[in-house]
């Protein structure tokens, strides 16, 4: 992988100038808004998916719930063929990329440093996976480091490359809020995922809601700006949004996901699981089966992908 080496200009294929047929036209909205914000050239690693997409941004240090939400929304969009745009940072950004890839979608990561700089360091595997179908992109020369003032500037590109910006979980002063503000200036739709009012993790994103951003509950909330979100998905394993698209609640649709064998205890276990994660011990008590059987049951459902194990011994229903 060339990007690890000390490349000064990067492979010639990386550079993308304005006027190139691959140049994303939506980027020029920045200059239309304020000439000083113009982007004149980009460096791109990978193939650019169709743009504008939908931006999914949030905290670098989200709660477990925040990560779960980012992943779920990313997958919902990816499954619909919507390009997910995000900032490749640790936390919500990375999980949004991962979710989109898991949903079979293409995603674009806008970096705050040069493409040849391995930052964040732990994201090497994600980068490899991401560039198979999508692209990493930066306006900085390949060897430029991740300097603090790069990131607010980078956020304007994320906003420009999107029809809508969804803020997943942002505390006060989070960079995701700056992306939202740039999106407002560009006339993009801004949505925020409602979060708990306990604690500070969602203080920023909740304030966006109070200031007039629209709440994001499921993909149908994007239907007026993103045509792909207008139609109900059929024949695709639903990743299940919290309260999944209202229309999807019908049980056992024709093309429903491969369910675990319909043996009763498995179904009973799934019925015990609401949208919130539940601790295994609570499930064991609810099922009133021997502990070994409960463990096997959870394990079977985990293998089929119907439930997911979360840290702390909790189990989350992943499919509805």
């Amino acid at each position: 992988m060339g990007w690890r080496g000390g490349v000064s200009a990067g492979p010639p294929g990386w550079r993308l100038d304005r006027g190139d047929p691959r140049w994303p036209a939506c980027l020029d909205d920045l200059a239309a808004c304020d000439e000083r914000d113009r982007v004149v050239r980009l460096f791109v690693d990978g193939d650019l998916p169709p743009l504008p997409g939908v931006a999914l941004v949030g905290a670098r240090r989200p709660t477990l719930q925040g990560l779960e939400v980012a992943r779920r929304i990313g997958a919902d969009l990816g499954r619909r063929g919507v390009t997910v745009v995000s900032g490749f940072a640790v936390g919500v950004d990375a999980e949004a990329h991962r979710g989109c890839l898991a949903g079979g979608g293409r995603t674009v990561a806008v970096l705050g440093c040069g493409l040849a700089v391995p930052y964040p360091r732990a994201h090497g595997p994600l980068r490899t996976q991401l560039t198979k179908t999508g692209a990493l992109l930066s306006e900085y020369p390949p060897t430029d480091g991740p300097l603090p003032w790069h990131f607010p500037l980078r956020n304007r590109i994320i906003a420009a490359l999107s029809r809508a910006v969804i803020v997943v979980e942002a505390g006060e002063g989070s960079g995701a809020l700056s992306t939202a503000h740039r999106a407002v200036e560009l006339g993009r739709e801004v949505l925020a995922v409602p979060g708990s009012i306990m604690g500070t993790a969602c203080a920023g994103s909740n304030r966006l809601l109070r200031d007039g951003a629209r709440p994001y509950l499921d993909p149908s909330d994007l239907s007026d700006v993103v045509p792909e979100c207008r139609t109900e998905l059929a024949g695709i394993a639903p990743g299940g949004g919290c309260g999944g698209s209202r229309a999807r609640r019908r049980p056992g649709g024709a093309g429903a996901a491969p369910r675990p064998e319909p043996h009763a205890p498995g179904q009973r276990l799934l019925d015990l699981l609401g949208a919130e994660p539940v601790h295994r011990e609570v499930l064991a008590r609810g099922l009133d089966l021997p502990a070994a059987d409960v463990a096997v049951l959870i394990g079977e459902l985990e293998l089929t992908g119907a439930v997911r194990a979360l840290p702390g011994g909790r189990v989350l229903r992943a499919r509805w």
Binding site: T63, V90, A291, G299, G312
Partner: protein, 499 residues
């Protein structure tokens, strides 16, 4: 003859005394430490207090073999007796072992390590042993030695002269002591999955990491684990008692107990206190006191990282090697390690109801990685213990008692013994990774489940071995010859987030 101990083995020491003409003096040679040099004063006064004459001549005492370092106060009795034989040829000392510290009034005080010394002296051909009476019971556990408990120096001399024979201490019956009141599983409400995990841990000697918020009952459960282990054999119990004798801790645990020991050192323990070592001749640490039993590290994050690193060797090799300039000492340390910790920095992650935890996800992951980091290879089972809510504490369901689980554990142990022995191990947890697949008897559907778990990307190569070991134990508990799909799937549930 007396004895010095090195770890659980030791070197018999012959006490030689020469009394010659010259200026009165009293010299002890033979790589002695301070406590032995001070024996000169104790012996001098004690001999007079006992009513004997202390020769005002040039006295030289040699503790042979002279090149072995010696320490402790246990040589007093032997030195005094050898000295007294010089004025009284009737004292029969050949083939007699003497251990004990002398008090100034001529009485004999107890010392530590009498049990391992008695074992070593027996090997050296000693059949008669005089020990302080407070140590007589432990020494009498050694079969083949006549043990006489001595209260005073004068009693010992009278016995050795044949003037007034002491009565031999009867060997105490093994296992006759009442069982220590450990926690019974039945007294722990709920926590069905955690109890099951403990049964599996006991069934194959697997080390456990318990994650749960404060007040969830981790400590209680860990204590209950001790009660799930089968009784020790008499040989094993003697080995354990010998370690306690070395540390002078037989008061904590009667030497005749057949129950596996349980140790729970506080995190302020020193490194030497934990793994063994200390000044002078090395002492066994908590890991050795937990030999053949359970070592609980509660709040394992509070232990200094260096301590946890130091645990690696004992946990992996089942013994502690303390190397000193003056020699190397080996203590056994075959134990089940139970580490308990909060599941996240704020501790609320494991709450069964509600979501108290607001820790950043990445912090939770890093925290849990730090937990298992130093010992990850050796922790087979990770179990999450939630806090049980008030109402559940008074549930109507009847809980299974430790005794019944212990029967299943003993049966599972018996089933795996021969199989594990083929790989040079004594239990499933100790079977080396490279021999595992060959002997565990994984069936086709089990293999399929493992493959699928691998495809889902949550199984490292190391994790694969751990899952197989645990699955083997689960099958042994169920009485299955082969490792089935159900066993594999249950084992997968116990591997924790670290994979």
């Amino acid at each position: 003859m007396s004895c010095v101990v090195h770890g659980l083995s030791g070197v018999p020491v012959t006490v030689e005394v020469d009394v010659a003409n010259g200026l009165p003096s009293f010299t002890i040679v033979g790589l002695t430490d301070r406590s032995i040099q001070e024996a000169r004063e104790r012996v001098r006064v004690a001999v007079r207090s006992a009513g004997f004459d202390f020769p005002a001549r040039r006295i030289t005492v040699n503790l042979a073999p002279a090149e072995v370092p010696k320490e402790g106060t246990g040589f007093d009795l032997a030195i005094a007796s050898a000295l007294l034989r010089h004025g009284d040829g009737r004292l029969a000392l050949d083939g007699v072992g003497l251990i004990g510290e002398l008090a100034l009034d001529g009485s004999v005080r107890g010392v530590v390590g009498v049990l391992p010394m008695a074992r070593r002296l027996l090997e050296a051909g000693i059949r008669t042993l005089l020990v302080p009476s407070e140590n007589a019971a432990e020494a009498a556990l050694v079969e083949g030695v006549s043990v006489f408990g001595v209260e005073r120096l004068s009693d010992a001399v009278a016995h050795l002269r044949g003037a007034r024979r002491l009565a031999a201490a009867p060997p105490p019956p093994m296992g006759a002591v009442p069982q220590a009141p450990g926690t019974d599983l039945a007294s722990v409400r709920g926590q069905a999955l955690a109890k099951r995990a403990l049964e599996i841990a006991a069934g194959g000697r697997h080390n456990v990491l318990m994650l749960g918020p404060p007040g969830s009952g981790k400590t209680m459960l860990a204590r209950a684990l001790g009660g799930l282990l089968p009784d020790l054999s008499v040989d094993e119990a003697l080995e354990v008692a010998a370690i306690y004798s070395l540390r002078g801790r037989l008061a904590d645990r009667p030497p005749t107990s057949l129950r596996p020991p349980f140790r729970a050192p506080h995190h302020s323990v020193s490194r030497a206190g934990l793994v063994g070592g200390g000044a002078g001749l090395a002492q066994p640490g908590e890991v050795s006191l937990a030999h053949r039993g359970v070592l609980l590290l509660d709040e394992v994050c509070e232990f200094p990282r260096a301590h946890l690193e130091a645990l690696r060797q004992p946990v992996e090799e089942r013994r502690v090697v303390v190397t000193r300039v003056r020699g190397t000492v080996v203590f056994p340390a075959e134990l089940i390690l139970v580490a308990a910790a909060n599941p996240c920095p704020c501790g609320r992650l494991g709450q069964a109801v509600g979501e108290g935890c607001r820790c950043p996800a990445e912090q939770v992951v890093r925290y849990q990685a730090r937990l298992s980091g130093p010992m990850r290879d050796r922790i087979d089972i990770v179990v999450d213990v939630p806090r049980v809510e008030g109402a559940d504490l008074f549930g109507e369901r009847e809980e299974e008692s430790s005794g019944r689980v212990r029967e299943r554990v003993a049966a599972a142990r018996a089933r795996q013994r021969e199989r594990a022995a083929r790989a040079g191990a004594t239990a499933n947890a100790l079977v080396p990774g490279e021999r595992l697949l060959e002997i565990c008897g994984l069936d086709a559907r089990g293999r399929d489940a493992l493959t699928r778990a691998g495809e889902r990307g949550r199984l490292s190569a190391r994790g694969y071995h751990r899952v197989l070991r645990v699955a083997r134990t689960i099958s042994d508990l169920r009485g299955d010859e082969r490792v089935t799909r159900e066993a594999v799937i249950e084992a997968l549930q116990l591997r924790g987030q670290a994979g």
